[in-house]
C-alpha cells in the first residue's frame, strides 16, 4: 500500500455550515447565471403575454376575464398533472383526451340513466370486472404472507364474481331503481365472507382492497340497475372507469413490453369509439346535476376566499419553518430565517392580489382552490414519498431501479393509472364547464394542450426531470394565449400557429438553459 495522501479539507462538511441571507441570495444568483433558471422564463412569458394582450384589448386584465381564465385552464391543468407523471417516466400518454371524454360521458349517462344502450352496459360491466380484478391483484400480490398468497386466485374469483352476481341479482329482481339498503347489507355480508376467508392475515392492504372491492361492487350494481344515479355514484363510476383504463394501458405496455406511444395511440382511437357508442344517437347530452355543475361554476364568498388564502399561506410558512428547525437540529445547512420571511411575504402578497382581483368579480372559483389542492397532493406524492422517488428513478435509469429492488413494471402501471385518473377528473371539470357532453367529448385540442402545458412548464420529455406544478404554469400560458386571442377575435388558424410558436419558444428556452447547465457542470 502506498502511503495515503494527506486528506484535503472535507468539502462535504463545509456544506453543512449555516448560511447567511447574503450567502443564500448569492447562491441563488449563481445558480440562475449557470442556467438553473427554474420557472423564471415562464414568469417572464406570462408578463409578456399579459402586456401584449392588454395593449391589444383592454378587457384582458379585467377581474372578469382573469376569473374566466382560471376556469378555462382547469381541465388542461388537471390532465397536465397526470401527464407530468407519465413524462417523468420518459413515456407518453396520447389517450388522455378521449379517456377524459369517456369518463365525462360515463358520468353524464349514469346521472341521467337509464343507459342509452346494451353496448354501453356491456362495456361498463367489463370495465368494472377488469378494474376489480386488477386492483385486487395489485394490492394483494405483493403481500409477503405465504398463507395469503395461497388465496390469491380465490380472491380474484371472489372479487370478480361477487359483484357480478349481486349486480345481476339487483338487475333481475327489480326494474329500474337506485341502490337501496338491502343491497348494501348484501354487500357487507359479502365483505364479511371475504373477511372470514382471510382471517389469517388481515393487513392494512387487505382492508384497503376490501373497501375498494365494496365500492366497486356498489358501483357495478348501481350502474346495472340502469336508474338515474346521484352524483356520489356517478362521479366515482367515471373515475373508477378512468383508473381502470389506465390500468389496462399500463398492463398492456408492461406485460408485452410495448412502447407507450403505440398503446396509447390505440387507446386514443378506441376511447373515441367508446365515446361515440356511449353517446349513441343522442348527439349532445345536457348535464343537469347542480353538484357536478358546481365543480366549474361555484365561487367562494369573498370572506371565505380570504380565509382560504390565509390558511394556505400560513401552512406554507409553518411547513417551511418546521423544515428549517429540523434541518438545524440535525446540523444540516438550513434556509436563513430572513429568506423564509421574504418568501412568505412574497407568496402572501401574490395570493392576496389574486384573491382581491377575484373578489372584484364573482369571487375565487372553487376549482381554482381545487387545482392548488391537487397540485399540493400530487407534488407531495412525487417528491416526498417512495412511490414518487421510484417514478424519478425509473425515468432516470430503469436498470438501476430494477437492481435496487424496485418493481419497475408496477411503477409504470400505476403511473398510467394516475394519468388516466387525472384525465377522468379533467373530463368531469370540462363537462361541468360546458354543462354538456357530446360526440366530440375529449377531442379537439385537449390532448395536445395538456401535453404542451406540462412541457412549457419545464417537464422534460425524456424522463426523470420535471415538476407537477409545471402543468399549472404551462396551462396559464396556453389558456392565457387562447383566451387573449379569443378576445381579439383571431381566427382558429392564427390561434394554432401562435400556440405552436409559444410551445416552440418554451422548448428552445429549456434547451438553451440545459446547455448552459451542462457547461457549468450542474447537470
Amino acid at each position: 500500500m502506498s502511503a495515503q495522501a494527506k486528506e484535503p479539507e472535507n468539502a462535504l462538511l463545509k456544506s453543512t455550515r449555516q448560511q447567511s441571507v447574503g450567502d443564500y441570495i448569492q447562491g441563488y444568483l449563481q445558480r440562475v447565471r449557470s442556467g438553473d433558471i427554474g420557472s423564471l422564463p415562464i414568469i417572464f412569458g406570462m408578463i409578456v403575454i399579459a402586456v401584449i394582450f392588454q395593449t391589444a384589448n383592454e378587457n384582458f386584465l379585467t377581474p372578469r376575464n382573469l376569473v374566466n381564465l382560471i376556469v378555462q385552464m382547469a381541465a388542461i391543468t388537471t390532465i397536465g398533472y397526470g401527464i407530468v407523471y407519465v413524462l417523468l417516466l420518459g413515456e407518453i400518454d396520447l389517450s388522455v383526451g378521449f379517456v377524459s371524454g369517456t369518463a365525462a360521458v360515463s358520468m353524464t349517462l349514469a346521472l341521467r340513466g337509464p343507459l342509452v344502450n346494451e353496448m354501453a352496459v356491456g362495456i361498463g360491466i367489463f370495465f368494472a370486472l377488469a378494474v376489480t380484478y386488477f386492483i385486487w391483484h395489485l394490492l394483494l400480490v405483493k403481500v409477503h404472507n405465504p398463507a395469503l398468497d395461497f388465496h390469491i386466485p380465490l380472491v380474484a374469483v371472489l372479487g370478480v364474481f361477487i359483484p357480478v352476481l349481486i349486480g345481476l341479482g339487483v338487475y333481475i329482481n327489480s326494474t329500474v331503481r337506485p341502490i337501496t339498503l338491502p343491497d348494501v347489507i348484501l354487500l357487507v355480508i359479502a365483505a364479511g365472507v371475504v373477511g372470514v376467508v382471510f382471517r389469517k392475515g388481515i393487513t392494512l392492504r387487505l382492508l384497503a382492497a376490501m373497501i375498494i372491492f365494496l365500492i366497486i361492487t356498489v358501483l357495478v350494481a348501481a350502474v346495472l340497475t340502469g336508474a338515474a344515479q346521484p352524483w356520489y355514484i356517478a362521479v366515482p363510476v367515471a373515475l373508477v372507469a378512468a383508473a381502470g383504463i389506465g390500468l389496462l394501458h399500463g398492463t398492456i405496455i408492461t406485460y408485452f413490453g410495448l412502447p407507450s406511444f403505440v398503446v396509447t395511440l390505440a387507446g386514443l382511437l378506441a376511447w373515441q369509439g367508446v365515446v361515440l357508442i356511449f353517446i349513441g344517437g343522442a348527439g349532445t347530452v345536457i348535464l343537469q346535476d347542480s353538484t357536478v355543475l358546481g365543480v366549474a361554476r361555484a365561487f367562494l364568498p369573498a370572506e371565505v376566499g380570504w380565509l382560504v388564502m390565509l390558511v394556505f399561506v400560513a401552512a406554507f410558512a409553518a411547513n417551511e419553518f418546521r423544515q428549517m428547525q429540523q434541518r438545524k437540529s440535525r446540523g444540516l445547512a438550513a434556509k436563513p430565517i430572513g429568506i423564509l420571511v421574504l418568501q412568505t411575504l412574497l407568496l402572501g402578497s401574490l395570493a392576496a392580489v389574486a384573491v382581491w382581483i377575484c373578489n372584484q368579480d364573482r369571487g375565487v372559483p372553487a376549482i381554482g382552490v381545487g387545482l392548488i389542492l391537487m397540485m399540493i397532493g400530487l407534488s407531495f406524492l412525487a417528491t416526498r414519498t417512495r412511490f414518487g422517488r421510484y417514478v424519478f428513478a425509473v425515468g432516470g435509469n430503469a436498470e438501476a431501479a430494477r437492481r435496487a429492488g424496485i418493481s419497475v413494471q408496477q411503477i409504470r402501471v400505476r403511473v398510467f393509472m394516475i394519468s388516466s385518473f387525472m384525465a377522468g377528473v379533467g373530463g368531469i371539470i370540462l363537462a361541468a364547464r360546458l354543462s354538456s357532453v357530446d360526440t366530440n367529448a375529449g377531442g379537439g385540442q385537449i390532448l395536445l394542450n395538456s401535453i404542451a402545458a406540462a412541457v412549457i412548464g419545464g417537464t422534460s420529455l425524456f424522463g426523470g426531470s420535471g415538476k407537477v406544478s409545471s402543468a399549472m404554469l404551462g396551462a396559464v400560458i396556453i389558456a392565457g394565449v387562447d383566451n387573449g386571442m379569443g378576445l381579439l377575435g383571431l381566427s382558429a388558424g392564427v390561434k394554432f400557429i401562435i400556440t405552436a410558436l409559444v410551445l416552440l419558444a418554451a422548448v428552445v428556452v429549456d434547451a438553451l438553459a440545459r446547455r448552459s447547465q451542462k457547461q457549468s457542470g450542474i447537470r
Binding site: S15, F392, A400, A401, R403
Partner: protein, 256 residues
C-alpha cells in the same frame, strides 16, 4: 485480518445448458481482507459473483457464511446476510441526487413521507467515514459528479447497510489515473474497517496494490489462491493463462 473465513464456498458448480461455467470451485474470503478474483474472459468470475449475489444460484456445492450453511437463492437472501454488490455499470440514477441514490429502494419513511433529513444526515455520515472528501454537496444530482466520485457513491451505497461483504466487479475499468487512485484507496479502507471485500479486475497492477490474496480461475476451475506478498505478477499471469503468456496489459514495467 481474522483467519476464519466469512464466506466459504466448497466445490460449487454452475452449468448453463451445455456450458460448464464453474466446476467444483472452492473460494473463501475473510473479514478485513481484500480478496482479488482474476481470470481470463469467460473464466467464470462473474458467474461466481452472481452465485454469491443470489442472481444465478449455484447448481451444487456448499456455501458457508459465518460458519453456517446457507442458501443464496435470491438477491434478497444475499442482501439479508449483508452481501452487497457494486456492479461495473454502477446502477446509479443520474437525475437523482446523491442521497436519493444511496437510499434507492431502501428509503426511510415516517408515516408514508420520506425522511429526507435523516437520510441526508446518514449519507453525510457514511461518506465522511469513508473519507470521501471531494464532494461539494450530497444534494447534487449524480450526473454532475466525476467518474471517481460516482464510483465512491456506488461503493458507499454498498457499505451503508451494515454490510459484511462487499463485491466490486471491475470498479476501475472506466476510470482515469487519479480516480482509480481514489477508488483503490476506498477499497483498502473498507477492508481496514473490517469488511470482507471481493475485487474483480483485469488490471494486475491495481490488484497488487490493494489485495491481500488472489484467487485465480481458469475455464471454470479454481487453479489456486495466492498470498499477494509471496508472488509476483508473472506468476499470476502464468496461473491465469496456464503458461501461455508472460505479460498482460496493466502489468508493472519492472516485471519485463
Amino acid at each position: 485480518m481474522s483467519t476464519k473465513p466469512l464466506l466459504e464456498l466448497r466445490a460449487v458448480t454452475k452449468r448453463f445448458g451445455a456450458v460448464q461455467a464453474l466446476t467444483e470451485v472452492d473460494f473463501e474470503v475473510c473479514s478485513g481482507e481484500v480478496m482479488a478474483l482474476v481470470g481470463d474472459n469467460g473464466a467464470g468470475k462473474s458467474t461466481l459473483i452472481k452465485g454469491i449475489a443470489g442472481i444465478y444460484p449455484f447448481d451444487g456445492g456448499e456455501i458457508l457464511f459465518e460458519d453456517q450453511a446457507v442458501t443464496l437463492d435470491s438477491p434478497a437472501a444475499s442482501a439479508a446476510l449483508g452481501i452487497e454488490v457494486v456492479y461495473q455499470d454502477l446502477a446509479l440514477a443520474d437525475n437523482l441526487d446523491v442521497v436519493a441514490n444511496m437510499f434507492l429502494g431502501r428509503e426511510q419513511t415516517s408515516m408514508g413521507a420520506l425522511s429526507e433529513l435523516e437520510m441526508e444526515r446518514r449519507c453525510i455520515e457514511t461518506l465522511t467515514s469513508l473519507s470521501v472528501s471531494t464532494l461539494r454537496s450530497v444534494r447534487l444530482p449524480v450526473a454532475s459528479l466525476s467518474g471517481g466520485q460516482r464510483q465512491a457513491i456506488a461503493v458507499a451505497k454498498a457499505v451503508m447497510w451494515n454490510s459484511k461483504l462487499v463485491i466490486l466487479d471491475e470498479p476501475t475499468a472506466a476510470l482515469g489515473v487519479a480516480q482509480t487512485r481514489q477508488v483503490l484507496d476506498l477499497v483498502r479502507r473498507l477492508a481496514d474497517k473490517g469488511l470482507a471485500v471481493i475485487l474483480i479486475s483485469h488490471n494486475l497492477h491495481d490488484i497488487f496494490e490493494v489485495s491481500d490474496r488472489i484467487t485465480v480461475l481458469r475455464l471454470g476451475h479454481g487453479v489456486g489462491v495466492m498470498e499477494r506478498r509471496k508472488v509476483n505478477q508473472q506468476e499470476v499471469v502464468h496461473a491465469i493463462t496456464a503458461g501461455k503468456m508472460q505479460k498482460v496489459p496493466g502489468m508493472a514495467e519492472e516485471v519485463q
